[in-house]
């Protein structure tokens, strides 16, 4: 591996590590699995070595690979009848209640919430990334807003 390639991978890691980790945490709901998936995502990058046309393309690729891997992990755990552990870092009791409400939502809902409210994708873009219909994405967002109103409203 030449120095230039190594530098560019390092730069990619620095650019994307938190985005990937946060996406994985949102879907998987626990730190250990999120760290595993983060590693898997970068391994997938090293395996595929995709060429990105833009920064948006790079962001979308990393997120899509992360969510696909996270969903696969959840399916595997489900088939193995393993409990889906939720172990999220929470600083205070007031935040804990809201976050527990968030993480009680199905992973598919949490995924949509994260992509919409944190990454800023539209419902149509999310539909394309996840393979769901846009109407399904919108209904998940609507349901999430009702349950998590205070968490998803802009703070004043």
């Amino acid at each position: 591996m030449c120095a230039q390639e190594s530098t560019s991978f390092e730069a990619l890691v620095r650019r994307q590590e938190n985005r990937v980790y946060r996406t994985a945490l949102a879907i998987l709901g626990n730190v250990e699995d999120a760290e595993d998936q983060t590693q898997d995502t970068f391994l997938k990058y090293l395996e595929k070595r995709p060429v990105f046309q833009s920064q948006d393309h790079e962001n979308a690729w990393m997120i899509t690979v992360t969510r696909n891997g996270a969903i696969s992990k959840l399916r595997l755990k489900s088939r193995q009848n393993l409990p889906l552990s939720v172990d999220i870092p929470v600083p205070g009791p007031e935040e804990r209640e809201e976050l527990e409400e968030l993480f009680r939502l199905p992973p598919e809902d949490r995924e949509v919430i994260h992509l919409f409210y944190y990454e800023g994708y539209s419902a149509e873009e999310i539909a394309k990334m996840t393979g769901a219909k846009a109407v399904t994405v919108r209904s998940r967002l609507s349901r999430a807003r009702k349950k998590l109103r205070s968490m998803l409203e802009v703070e004043t």
Binding site: E17, Y118, V154
Partner: protein, 238 residues
């Protein structure tokens, strides 16, 4: 202004240890992530050789048939056609064709009328054509049937997930293996289809990959993975 959700996620960052592990990925691949390199199966040449053997036996049988001029052609030819059809459907194609010899011995007892000769020769010609085409081992026939069954879902694009899932889920897998789910890799070339299976035992998935390549226009790599541990059972390129 940020929502509470955004503020919470802003605070979630990877640990320094994970950061270092990510940087070191280029130099090494952790053992559990190493993909099992499954060598491509050798091309199945035996089908061609068995087809050639079957053809030779049939030709020999036909020559023997001709030598017993005086067979009541149409009836015996029909028997021989049925024998050849059986040869198409069983693994012992060549052995079945060799049974032509028995048909020939039956013809020794037959009384042939000259009026039937033309018809017999016509049947023999058609059987010769069939002899040339009696090359299929039984798995080819099963594969053809599966192709016909799944062909309504044929699509040009791997991204056509509905039809791709129909194809992958509808395939017949080797004993001990069942379809679980698929993953579509359409981010860029090479376009790949991962078919996850549950089960155990050895598995020759060449026919399944052939089906995928035939029915999904732009898929370039098909992998079969064990859903239990993510290991690669087989990997095939177009």
């Amino acid at each position: 202004m940020r929502t509470k959700y955004q503020a919470y996620m802003d605070r979630q960052t990877i640990s320094p240890e994970l950061h270092q592990r990510l940087l070191s990925l280029e130099q090494r691949q952790p053992e559990r992530h190493r993909l099992v390199e499954v060598p491509k199966p050798a091309p199945v040449r035996w089908r061609r050789w068995s087809a050639l053997a079957a053809s030779l036996v049939l030709v020999v049988g036909l020559v023997a048939l001709r030598s017993f001029s005086g067979n009541s052609g149409a009836m015996k030819s029909a028997d021989m056609a049925r024998t050849m059809t059986a040869a198409e459907e069983t693994a012992a194609g060549a052995a079945q064709s060799a049974d032509m010899g028995e048909g020939s011995s039956m013809e020794e007892e037959a009384v042939v009328e000259s009026a039937d000769m033309d018809e017999a020769e016509e049947m023999e010609e058609s059987m010769e054509v069939e002899a040339v085409t009696v090359t299929d081992a039984p798995s080819d026939t099963a594969w053809t049937e599966e192709m016909e069954r799944l062909s309504p879902y044929a699509t040009d694009y791997l991204g056509d997930s509905v039809n791709v899932v129909h194809i992958a889920a509808g395939m017949t897998y080797p004993d001990g293996w069942q379809y679980d789910h698929v993953e579509l890799h359409t981010d860029g070339a090479p376009y790949g289809l991962d078919i996850w299976l549950t089960g155990s035992g050895s598995a020759d998935l060449q026919a399944n990959s052939d089906t995928a390549f035939a029915l999904i226009g732009n898929v370039e790599v098909v992998r079969f993975l064990d859903a239990a541990d993510g290991s690669v059972i087989g990997e095939y390129e177009r």
